[in-house]
C-alpha cells in the first residue's frame, strides 16, 4: 500500500503552482444584484467582476434573520439564476438594434421622400404592398443591424402616426410581473400611459391569478412568505412542485419536516416534491378537487356533526360567511338555494343606507340580526361599522349567531352535480317575514352540509355512508382521483386533528398544477373550504399558499403612480389580456359555444359563446376592452367638441347617446374590422409571442401574419356568435409594428420587426420584491450595459423624447382623450350592479359608472410627454392602494431637497432620469418602507373600520429604507395596511392575520371569507357552493384532428420546468447541457412503447392548434395518458421540421389555446369587480389533448 501518499505533504514539485487556481478565483469587485425573471425568487446575488467582465455569481448570505425560531433565507438562488452570467457575453446576446431588412429598406426609401418621419411611416403602412413586404416575413430571418437613431425615430414616428390615425388605444405594451424589476416594468408603462396607450395584464393571462382568491377573499392573491411554511404542522402540496419551481424556498419545507410537520404531496407524477412526502397521493391530474370535496365531507361529518370542535365553530362564525342567511327560491316547483337575505328586505332595516349590500344572520333565539362588516358598510356615509364585530349594526348589541337553523323545520332542496343525479335533500330552514312577503331562509352552513351530503338525520337523498357512491363521499372520489377511500379517510382525519391540535396550522401549497385547469376556481374553493373548516386561514403556519407569478410589488402605491403615470394622469388605460387576445388573436372564431361543456340552467340571460359574454361584459362595465370604440377616442372627442359638447358631462352624454343608438360601437363587437385592430405592440421583459402567447399559432396567423402558422382548426363560431360581427375572411397580420426589447434572441425577437438591445440584470439598477419573502432587494449594475444595450428605462425615455419631438406638428396642443374604464374593485363601483341589467337590451338606462363603463375624460400633452416622463408629477403626494389612502406632501417636499430636480413650464420636479432616484422615490412614498406613512395609512383605515390599528406601525414609525440600504443588504419591509399580513417582531408574513387579529373585513359581500357565492350566474352554473367539475372532455374541444390516427392521444400538460424559468434559461448552454440539449416531452414508458417511441427519439405532437417537434424522455414516473412538456421552451434551439407540415415545429403554446370561463367575467357585484390582474377570466390551457407520434417512420 502506498502509505507514503497518505502522509502527503507536497509532491515533488513544491506547491507554488497552486496559485493557478488562486488566480482563477481572484476578482476585482462584487456587486449585489438579482434576476428579473418571473420566478418569485427575489434572490439576492453577489456578482463577481474581474477585469471589467462578469465572471460568476454566488448567492448573498447576509439576509437578516427573522427570528431564532425560523431558518435563515440564505443562500437563496437556483441553477437557473446561477447560470445567468453565461448570457451576458454569449452569442445569444442582442448586442445592437436590429430590424427586418425589408422594413429598413422601406424606411430608408420613405425617409428619402418624406421629411416628416410620421408621414414617412404613413407612406409605408398605408400601402398594402409596402406593409406586407416586411409583415409577411415575420419570423423568417433577414434581420439587419441598425443604429439607435434610426430605430428610435422609426418607432416614434409609428407611435405618433398610430395615435393620430387610429387612436392611442391601438398601441399596446406587454410586460409581465413588475415585482421582479419594477422600474424596468414602469419604463414602458409610464410611456404608454402618458401617451394613452394600453397596458396589458399578465397575472390573469398567465393563469397565475387564482380566481378563487377574489371569489372567497375579495383579494387578488395574498400568501405567506415561504419562511412561514416552517410554522405549519401539516402541509399538503397540491399542484406545486416546490423543489423544481420554488427552488430557493423549498428548504423551509424540508426543514419543517424536522419540526414534525407532515408533508403530503398530491401529484400525478412521481415528481421531485414527492421525494419529501410522507404520503404521496398520485391523484388523477385535474381532479384534485374531488379529493378535497370528499375530505370536506369527512371533516363536516366528524368535526362538525358527530363532534363539535369549539375552535372550528368559533372561527366559522366569526370569519366565514357560514352563519349568513340565504333565501331558498322555488323554481319550477323545486326549491333551490338563492341569494343572501339583505337588510333592505327586512322591515327593521329597510331604510338602511346600502341595505341591498348588507347581509343578515340569525341569532340563537331565531331573531334576524344584522352584523357589522357587510360591503354596504364600506361605502355608506357613516364610517366605523365596516368591521368583523358580530354586533348588530342597528342596536350595537352583540349577536350570538347561529351557524345552523337545525330544529325548526326542513325543506327539500335540489342540489345539482356535474355528471351525477340531482339530489333532493332536506335542509333546515325557517320562514321569515320580509317587506316582500314571506320567504324561506337557511344558512350557508346548512346548505354546505347538504351540498356535501352530510345528513344529520335529515331526509332526502343523502349518502348512507362513506362507502355510498354519491357526491361527495370518500367512495365517490375514488373514481375521479384514483385514491383509495381508506387513504382519503386517514388524510381527512389527520387534517382535522392537526387543525384542532395546532390551532389551524394546516397549509395547502398550491400552484399552476391545479390553477391552469378550466375549473381551477372550483378546485381552489374545494381546498380553501378545507382550510376554512379547520380555522387555518389568517394564521402563521396555515392557509393557502399559492405561488404562481411574482405578483407582490411591495411599494405598491407609489409604484402604481410612477408606473401608470398616475402622478400626472388618472385613470389609466389597462386591459385584461385574456379577453384581449381571445378576441384579437381570433381564437374566439375557433371556439364553440361553451354550453356544450359548461351549461347554465335556464333562467338567466347568459349568452352561450364566451365572445358574446365578453362583449356583454364590456358594455356593462365589467371588463375593459381596447380599443374602446370603433373610432379613435381622440377623434370622438373632437367630434363631441364639434357637436357642441364642451364640458365633460356633456361629452359623456353625447357619447352615451351614440353608443345607445349604435352610431358608435364598442370595438369588441367587430374586432376583425381594420379600424379595430391593435396596431403597434411594445414587448419588453417578456416573451410575449411565445411563452406568453397561449394559442401561439393563432398569434402567428392573425396578429403577426407570419407564414409558418400551423393552425388547422375550424372556425366553428361562425353561426354561433351573435354579438360579434362575422367576417368570412379572418384578418392576418393585424399589427403594423412589433418592437421587442430583449437581451437575448428568444422566439419573440425572432418574430418581431424591431429588436432593441436591452441591458441585462447585471447592467442596470432596479428594485425587486416578491411574495416569497419579505425583503426588498436591489438589482444593480455590476458592469455598464455591454455593447450597445441600454436599460429599459433609458430606452423608453429615448422613445418618449423622440415622440415629443415628432408630435410638435401633429399634436401641438394638449388635447382630450376618453377612457372607458370598468367598474372597479375597492371603489363604489363594486356595489353598482345589484342585478344584471343590460342597457342595450333595454333592461335599464345606460349610465356611465353604473350600468356601463366609467367614461373618464383626461388630457394628454404629447409635446411635454418626455418632460412628464422624466419628472415626478404633482399627484404623487396623495396615494392609495386597496382602498387605503394617505398624504405625503411633507415627504415630497423633503425629497425635492434630497434628489436631483428638473424644471420646465415654470415648475420644479424630482428628476427621474437615473433609475436609482426612481428607486428612492418608490421607497420614500411607500408605507412598507417609510414607517411614518404606514402610521398614516393605518389611521386612514381605522376611520373606515372603527377599530384601532395605527399602533401596528408605531414600532417602525421612524424606519425608512433607501436605495443605498438595499444595495448593502436585503432589507425587510414593515407592517402596512396595504397588505393583510403582519411582519413585526420577526414574524413571517402570513396573509389575513390583520383580518383575524384586528377585525378588518375581507373585501367581500359579507366582509367574511365567502364559501357561498350568491350571484345568480353562479347559481345558474351550480357553482354557488363549492363543488366538483372534472377536466373538459376532449370530444368537445375541437382540438384533435380528424384523420390523424397513427399516434397516442394524450392529455398535454405544461407544468413549470427544471431547466428554465418559463422560457428564460431554457436556451442557456448550462441548462441545455444539464438537460437534454433542447425541447423535450416526457412520456410514460408503456405509452411510449405503444407508439414505438424510445427515450431520446424524435417525436411530433399534433393537434388542431399546431405542431411541436421535439425529443421524448421516457419514464415510468409519468402517469399513463398524459404527456408533459415543461413550460416553456423556445422554438429556436435545434428544432426539426414536422412530418405533418414540412415546417419547423413550434413550442408548447403551439398546441394550446384558451377558453374563457364566463362566470369570471362578472362585474359591479362585490368581489366580482374588475381590477387589473385581479379579476377576470384567466388563460386556462390545461384541458388540452394532443396526438403524439414518432417523428420518423
Amino acid at each position: 500500500m502506498a502509505d507514503n501518499r497518505i502522509k502527503d505533504e507536497s509532491c515533488c514539485g513544491g506547491r507554488d503552482w497552486e496559485e493557478f487556481y488562486r488566480n482563477r478565483w481572484q476578482y476585482d469587485k462584487v456587486v449585489r444584484s438579482t434576476h428579473g425573471v418571473n420566478c418569485t425568487g427575489g434572490c439576492s446575488w453577489m456578482v463577481h467582476v474581474k477585469d471589467g467582465i462578469v465572471g460568476w455569481e454566488l448567492q448573498a448570505n447576509d439576509y437578516p434573520q427573522l427570528s431564532g425560531d425560523i431558518p435563515n433565507h440564505e443562500p437563496r438562488g437556483c441553477p437557473r439564476g446561477i447560470s445567468y452570467s453565461w448570457y451576458l457575453y454569449s452569442p445569444l446576446r442582442v448586442k445592437y438594434p436590429y430590424l427586418r431588412g425589408a422594413l429598413l429598406d422601406r424606411w430608408q426609401e420613405a425617409r428619402a421622400q418624406h421629411d416628416d418621419p410620421v408621414t414617412a411611416w404613413a407612406s409605408i403602412v398605408e400601402n398594402p404592398d409596402r406593409r406586407a413586404s416586411y409583415t409577411s416575413q415575420r419570423g423568417m430571418g433577414g434581420f439587419r443591424r441598425a443604429d439607435w437613431e434610426t430605430v428610435v425615430e422609426l418607432i416614434a414616428a409609428s407611435t405618433v402616426y398610430t395615435a393620430k390615425k387610429h387612436g392611442p388605444d391601438r398601441i399596446i405594451g406587454f410586460t409581465p410581473i413588475p415585482a421582479m424589476s419594477m422600474i424596468s416594468y414602469a419604463a414602458g408603462t409610464r410611456f404608454l400611459q402618458l401617451l394613452g396607450g394600453v397596458c396589458m395584464s399578465f397575472y390573469d393571462w398567465y393563469c397565475d391569478l387564482p380566481p378563487a382568491s377574489p371569489q372567497v377573499w375579495g383579494e387578488q392573491t395574498d400568501v405567506c412568505e415561504s419562511a412561514d411554511w416552517y410554522n405549519a404542522s401539516y402541509i399538503v402540496l397540491c399542484g406545486a412542485n416546490l423543489p423544481q419551481t420554488r427552488t430557493p424556498d423549498s428548504h423551509f419545507m424540508t426543514e419543517a419536516r424536522y419540526r414534525g410537520a407532515k408533508v403530503v404531496v398530491m401529484s400525478p407524477d412521481l415528481n421531485i416534491a414527492s421525494k419529501f412526502a410522507d404520503t404521496w397521493l398520485p391523484v388523477e391530474q385535474g381532479h384534485d378537487g374531488a379529493f378535497w370535496m370528499a375530505l370536506n365531507h369527512v371533516l363536516l361529518k366528524e368535526f362538525y356533526v358527530d363532534r363539535q370542535v369549539p375552535f372550528f365553530e368559533e372561527y366559522a362564525r366569526t370569519y366565514t360567511d357560514l352563519p349568513f342567511l340565504v333565501k331558498l327560491e322555488q323554481r319550477d316547483g323545486i326549491w333551490q338555494a338563492g341569494e343572501h337575505l339583505r337588510a333592505s328586505e327586512l322591515e327593521r332595516s329597510a331604510g338602511m343606507e346600502q341595505g341591498e349590500w348588507i347581509l343578515c344572520v340569525s341569532d340563537a333565539s331565531g331573531k334576524i340580526r344584522i352584523p357589522k362588516g357587510s360591503l354596504g358598510m364600506r361605502w355608506d356615509s357613516k364610517p366605523g361599522n365596516w368591521n368583523l364585530d358580530m354586533t348588530d349594526v342597528l342596536d350595537n348589541q352583540p349577536i350570538d349567531c347561529a351557524l345552523s337553523l337545525l330544529g325548526d323545520r326542513a325543506t327539500t332542496v335540489c342540489f345539482r352535480y356535474e355528471g351525477e343525479q340531482d339530489a333532493l335533500r332536506e335542509v333546515p330552514c325557517r320562514s321569515i317575514q320580509t317587506v316582500n312577503g314571506e320567504v324561506l331562509v337557511t344558512t350557508v352552513f346548512d346548505l354546505l352540509l347538504a351540498q356535501f351530503g352530510v345528513s344529520r338525520d335529515l331526509g332526502g337523498d343523502y349518502p348512507s355512508s362513506y362507502d355510498d357512491d354519491k357526491p361527495f363521499t370518500p367512495a365517490w372520489q375514488e373514481k375521479h382521483t384514483g385514491v383509495g377511500r381508506e387513504t382519503l379517510l386517514q388524510i381527512a382525519r389527520e387534517w382535522g386533528e392537526n387543525g384542532e391540535k395546532s390551532n389551524g396550522r394546516n397549509m395547502v401549497i398550491t400552484g399552476a398544477g391545479v390553477n391552469h385547469w378550466y375549473h381551477n376556481d372550483l378546485i381552489y374553493r374545494s381546498f380553501i373550504t378545507a382550510l376554512l373548516l379547520t380555522g387555518s386561514v389568517g394564521r402563521n403556519g396555515g392557509g393557502m399558499a399559492h405561488y404562481v407569478g411574482q405578483e407582490k410589488v411591495v411599494p405598491l402605491a407609489p409604484w402604481t403612480a410612477v408606473a401608470m403615470a398616475q402622478d400626472w394622469v388618472k385613470p389609466s388605460r389597462l386591459q385584461n389580456t385574456p379577453s384581449f387576445w381571445y378576441i384579437h388573436s381570433d381564437q374566439w372564431r375557433y371556439d364553440r359555444n361553451f354550453t356544450d361543456y359548461f351549461k347554465p340552467e335556464t333562467g338567466e340571460n347568459i349568452p352561450a359563446h364566451a365572445a358574446d359574454v365578453n362583449a356583454k361584459a364590456v358594455r356593462l362595465g365589467w371588463l375593459p376592452f381596447a380599443p374602446h370604440f370603433n373610432d379613435s377616442p381622440l377623434r370622438l372627442m373632437q367630434q363631441a367638441h364639434e357637436a357642441g359638447a364642451t364640458d365633460d358631462a356633456a361629452i359623456r352624454a353625447w357619447l352615451v347617446k351614440r353608443l345607445q343608438s349604435g352610431e358608435t360601437r364598442f370595438a369588441i363587437e367587430d374586432p376583425d374590422a381594420p379600424e379595430n385592430f391593435p396596431r403597434l405592440w411594445f414587448i419588453w421583459r417578456s416573451n410575449a409571442i411565445s411563452a406568453s402567447a397561449k394559442g401561439h399559432e393563432y398569434f402567428l396567423k392573425h396578429v403577426l401574419g407570419a407564414p409558418n402558422s400551423t393552425v388547422t382548426a375550424s372556425e366553428v363560431a361562425k353561426d354561433q356568435v351573435t354579438e360579434l360581427v362575422w367576417h368570412d375572411k379572418a384578418p392576418e397580420g393585424k399589427m403594423d409594428l412589433i418592437v421587442d426589447l430583449n437581451f437575448r434572441m428568444d422566439t419573440s425577437t425572432v418574430y418581431s420587426d424591431i429588436i432593441l438591445p436591452a441591458a441585462t440584470w447585471y447592467e442596470k439598477s432596479d428594485v425587486n420584491t416578491t411574495d416569497m419573502h419579505s425583503f426588498v432587494n436591489c438589482m444593480d449594475a455590476a458592469v455598464p450595459p455591454s455593447w450597445e444595450s441600454k436599460a429599459d428605462w433609458k430606452i423608453f425615455s429615448m422613445i418618449a423624447k423622440k415622440v415629443s419631438e415628432l408630435s410638435a406638428p401633429h399634436f401641438p396642443e394638449p388635447f382630450k382623450d376618453i377612457i372607458a374604464a370598468p367598474l372597479l374593485h375597492d371603489t363604489p363601483g363594486e356595489i353598482a350592479q345589484r342585478r344584471v341589467k343590460d342597457w342595450k337590451q333595454g333592461e335599464c338606462e345606460p349610465i356611465p359608472g353604473k350600468t356601463m363603463p366609467n367614461l373618464a375624460i383626461v388630457e394628454r400633452d404629447y409635446v411635454n410627454l418626455y418632460n412628464r416622463f422624466m419628472s415626478l408629477g404633482p399627484n404623487i403626494a396623495h396615494l392609495g392602494a386597496h382602498g387605503v389612502n394617505w398624504d405625503a406632501d411633507d415627504v415630497h417636499a423633503d425629497l425635492l431637497n434630497r434628489l436631483p430636480t428638473r424644471s420646465w413650464g415654470g415648475k420644479t420636479y424630482i428628476d427621474l432620469e437615473d433609475e436609482r432616484n426612481v428607486a428612492d422615490t418608490l421607497l420614500a412614498f411607500a408605507p412598507e418602507t417609510n414607517g411614518e406613512l404606514a402610521v398614516r395609512a393605518y389611521q386612514n383605515m381605522e376611520a373606515r373600520i372603527g377599530k384601532p390599528l395605527a399602533h401596528l406601525a408605531e414600532g417602525s414609525r421612524n424606519v425608512r429604507i433607501s436605495w443605498d440600504d438595499i444595495t448593502r443588504q436585503p432589507r425587510r419591509f414593515h407592517n402596512s395596511p396595504v397588505w393583510s399580513g403582519l411582519v413585526d417582531g420577526g414574524r413571517p408574513y402570513s396573509p389575513y392575520v390583520l383580518n383575524v387579529e384586528h377585525g378588518v373585513p375581507w373585501r367581500t359581500l359579507s366582509g367574511r371569507q365567502s364559501l357561498y357565492l350568491d350571484h345568480p350566474w353562479y347559481t345558474s352554473f351550480n357553482e354557488g357552493l363549492p363543488t366538483f367539475k372534472g377536466k373538459l372532455p376532449a370530444a368537445v374541444l375541437d382540438e384533435l384532428q380528424e384523420g390523424v390516427q397513427d399516434g397516442l392521444v394524450l392529455n398535454f400538460l405544461t407544468p413549470h420546468g427544471k431547466w428554465g424559468i418559463h422560457s428564460t434559461y431554457t436556451d442557456n448552454l448550462r441548462m441545455l447541457t444539464l438537460s437534454r440539449g433542447g425541447q423535450v416531452v416526457w412520456l410514460n414508458h408503456e405509452d411510449a412503447a405503444q407508439a414505438g417511441i424510445e427515450d431520446n427519439e424524435g417525436v411530433e405532437l399534433i393537434n388542431n392548434n399546431g405542431v411541436v417537434v421535439c425529443k421524448a424522455i421516457v419514464s415510468s414516473r409519468i402517469p399513463k395518458g398524459s404527456v408533459f412538456m415543461y413550460h416553456a421552451p423556445e422554438r429556436t434551439i435545434n428544432i426539426k421540421k414536422s412530418r405533418k407540415t414540412g415546417k419547423k415545429g413550434g413550442v408548447h403554446n403551439s398546441l394550446a389555446r384558451i377558453r374563457l370561463k364566463p362566470t369570471l367575467m362578472l362585474g359591479g357585484y362585490a368581489q366580482f369587480s374588475y381590477y387589473f390582474n385581479y379579476w377576470g377570466p384567466t388563460g386556462v390551457n390545461r384541458d388540452c389533448y394532443v396526438v403524439v407520434r414518432k417523428l420518423r417512420g
Binding site: A2, E19, R259, A261, W280
Partner: protein
C-alpha cells in the same frame, strides 16, 4: 496515534432537492474553460440512475479503487501501482462517450440568418470537433429525474431488483451530489507514475500538480468515483480542488456555499493515519464502522496533544471540536461514506434520505407506526439499495441513521403541537434530548456560519513580508508546458 486533520463535507441527502445549483457554481468558477467543458467536478445524480460518467459505480467495468487481495491492498486495475508495461495503455479508462460530447449552439444564426422560407433555428455544434451535431445523445446529467427508466436507471448496480424501475407503484427517486472525496487512501495518487498527485497535510485536500502532471491518466482509471478528468487542451489531469482558495480563507466551497437546499455541512475531522491501512482490510460490511473508528475525539486531551505534535494549529483543534462533520459522522453516526467498499476511504459523507409511502387506489394506506409519519419499514426506497450505496452492503448502518431521522421528527412533532414528547422514542433510535436538539438545529435553523466551520490557513510562515510587498503577489508563474 498519528493525528491528521481533514476538511470534510457532509451531505444530508434527506434535504437534497436535486437542483444542481452546486454544479453550476463549480462550473462557472473552475471549469468554464476550453478542455474542461465536459468536466463537472461537482455533479448531481438521480438515483436510481447510472450517473456521470455512465455506470461509474460499476468497477467490474472500470476497475477503479482498491481491493483487499489476500490481506494486502492493491489497486484493482493496476495491482500495486503503475508499471512501464501499462504506461501507454489505459484499457479501463472512460472514453469521452462515457462522459458526453460537450456541445455549444450556433446561437448567432438567430439574428444572423438571411431571409428564408422557414424560421431560423440554432444548430448544435460539438465543442470538440466544431462540427454540427444532428442530435444530442448524451450529457452530464442525462438521466435527470428519470428514475423509472428501463434504459438507464435499471442498470444502476445498487438495484437488487430492476423490475421496480418500471412499476409506477414502486419506483422511487433520490439525488446524489458528488465531488472528489479527497480520500484518505486516494487511488488516484497511488496510481500516478509522475507523483503529481498529493494530499495536502494541512487540510487533506488531494490535488494534481499542474506542473508535474504528464497526462498519463492512470488517476482517471484508478479513481473509482471517476472524479479525476483529463483536460484535452492542456494535456493534464484536473479535479475538484475543494475550492482551496476559498477554504484557505475560511470560506466554504462554492458548491457548498450555493447549496440552496442547505444540505451541506463542512468541518474538520481528526483521524489516526496509522490505522487507515488496517481499517481498509476489513470485510465490506465492516468498512463503515472501521472508518468511523479511525475518527478521533477532538475533545480528548490525548488526541489534542498528539495533534499538536503533528503541528495541527490550535484554531484547527477548536474547529474540530465544533465541527458539524464530527457531530454527524462520528458522534451521531448519521453520515456514511459512499461506496466504502472501493476502499479509498472517501472523506465525503452522506445522510441517507427518507422517502414517501404511496397511497394508490384500492391499496390500504399503511397506517404509520408513529402517528402520521411513516415508519422505516414503509419507505419506498429499498433499504438494501441504500445499504449498497452507503453502507458497504451493511443495512444496519443505514437503518440506524434513518431511524434517528424518523424519531427526531416524531419527537419534534409532539413538541411542535405542545404535547408531551416521549423520550423513549428517541432512546429507541439511539438519541437523547441533547443529541436530538443538536441534530434538529443542524438540519434546520443552523445558519451559514454554523453549517460550515472552516478554520482559515495560516500562511504567514512563507515570508509574508516579502510577499506582501513583492511583485509576486498574485502574479501567475506560468508552469512548464503551459496551463
Amino acid at each position: 496515534m498519528n493525528v491528521r486533520s481533514q476538511l470534510v463535507m457532509v451531505f444530508n441527502l434527506d434535504k437534497c432537492i436535486g437542483c444542481h445549483t452546486c454544479s453550476i457554481a463549480c462550473k462557472n468558477i473552475w471549469t468554464d474553460r476550453q478542455g474542461a467543458e465536459y468536466m463537472w467536478w461537482n455533479n448531481v445524480e438521480t438515483k436510481p440512475g447510472i450517473g456521470y460518467p455512465k455506470n461509474w459505480e460499476d468497477q467490474e467495468h472500470y476497475k477503479g479503487g482498491w481491493i483487499n487481495d489476500g490481506g494486502e491492498l492493491r489497486l484493482k486495475g493496476l495491482g500495486k501501482g503503475p508499471t512501464l508495461l501499462n504506461m501507454f495503455f489505459q484499457p479501463n479508462m472512460p472514453a469521452i462517450t462515457d462522459y458526453y460530447e460537450p456541445f455549444d449552439v450556433d446561437y448567432a444564426n438567430l439574428h444572423g440568418a438571411p431571409k428564408g422560407d422557414d424560421q431560423p433555428t440554432a444548430d448544435i455544434v460539438s465543442q470538440i470537433s466544431g462540427q454540427k451535431m444532428e442530435e444530442v445523445t448524451s450529457g452530464p446529467n442525462w438521466d435527470d429525474d428519470l428514475s423509472g427508466s428501463g434504459q438507464h436507471a435499471a442498470n444502476d448496480p445498487n438495484l437488487a431488483d430492476a423490475s421496480i424501475i418500471e412499476d409506477y407503484g414502486r419506483i422511487f427517486m433520490q439525488y446524489l451530489p458528488r465531488l472528489c472525496n479527497h480520500c484518505l487512501n486516494p487511488a488516484c495518487a497511488a496510481s500516478c507514475p509522475s507523483r503529481a498527485i498529493y494530499k495536502r497535510g494541512e487540510d487533506g485536500v488531494v490535488l494534481v500538480d499542474q506542473n508535474i502532471c504528464k497526462g498519463w491518466r492512470f488517476c482517471t482509471s484508478a479513481c473509482p468515483y471517476k472524479k479525476v478528468y483529463y483536460n484535452w487542451t492542456t494535456g493534464k489531469a484536473e479535479k475538484c480542488i475543494f475550492c482551496f482558495p476559498r477554504t484557505e480563507t475560511g470560506q466554504c466551497n462554492a458548491c457548498s456555499h450555493s447549496c440552496v437546499g442547505r444540505i451541506r455541512y463542512l468541518g474538520v475531522l481528526l483521524y489516526d493515519a496509522d490505522g487507515v491501512e488496517q481499517a481498509l482490510k476489513q470485510p465490506d460490511d465492516k468498512l463503515v464502522e472501521a472508518q468511523r473508528a479511525l475518527i478521533l475525539d477532538p475533545h480528548d486531551p490525548a488526541v489534542q496533544q498528539a495533534a499538536r505534535k503533528n503541528n495541527i494549529p490550535d484554531h484547527w483543534l477548536d474547529a474540530a471540536c465544533n465541527s458539524p462533520a464530527y457531530t454527524l459522522v462520528k458522534e451521531q453516526g448519521m453520515a456514511l461514506p459512499l461506496h466504502a467498499e472501493f476502499r479509498t476511504m472517501p472523506m465525503a459523507y452522506y445522510i441517507p434520505s427518507l422517502s414517501p409511502v404511496i397511497a394508490k387506489h384500492g391499496d390500504l394506506h399503511e397506517v404509520a407506526k408513529h402517528g402520521l409519519i411513516p415508519a422505516l419499514e414503509q419507505l419506498r426506497v429499498p433499504l438494501d439499495y441504500l445499504a449498497s450505496l452507503l453502507g458497504g452492503g451493511n443495512q444496519q448502518v443505514v437503518t440506524q441513521s434513518l431511524a434517528k431521522l424518523i424519531a427526531l421528527r416524531v419527537w419534534m412533532r409532539a413538541k411542535n403541537l405542545g404535547e408531551t414528547a416521549d423520550p423513549a422514542l428517541l432512546a429507541e433510535a439511539g438519541l437523547d434530548e441533547t443529541s436530538a436538539t443538536k441534530l434538529y438545529r443542524l438540519f434546520t435553523v443552523a445558519n451559514y456560519r454554523e453549517r460550515s466551520i472552516i478554520p482559515g490557513q495560516q500562511r504567514e510562515m512563507k515570508e509574508p513580508y516579502l510577499r506582501k510587498g513583492g511583485r509576486g503577489f498574485g502574479i501567475l508563474k506560468t508552469p512548464r508546458g503551459g496551463l
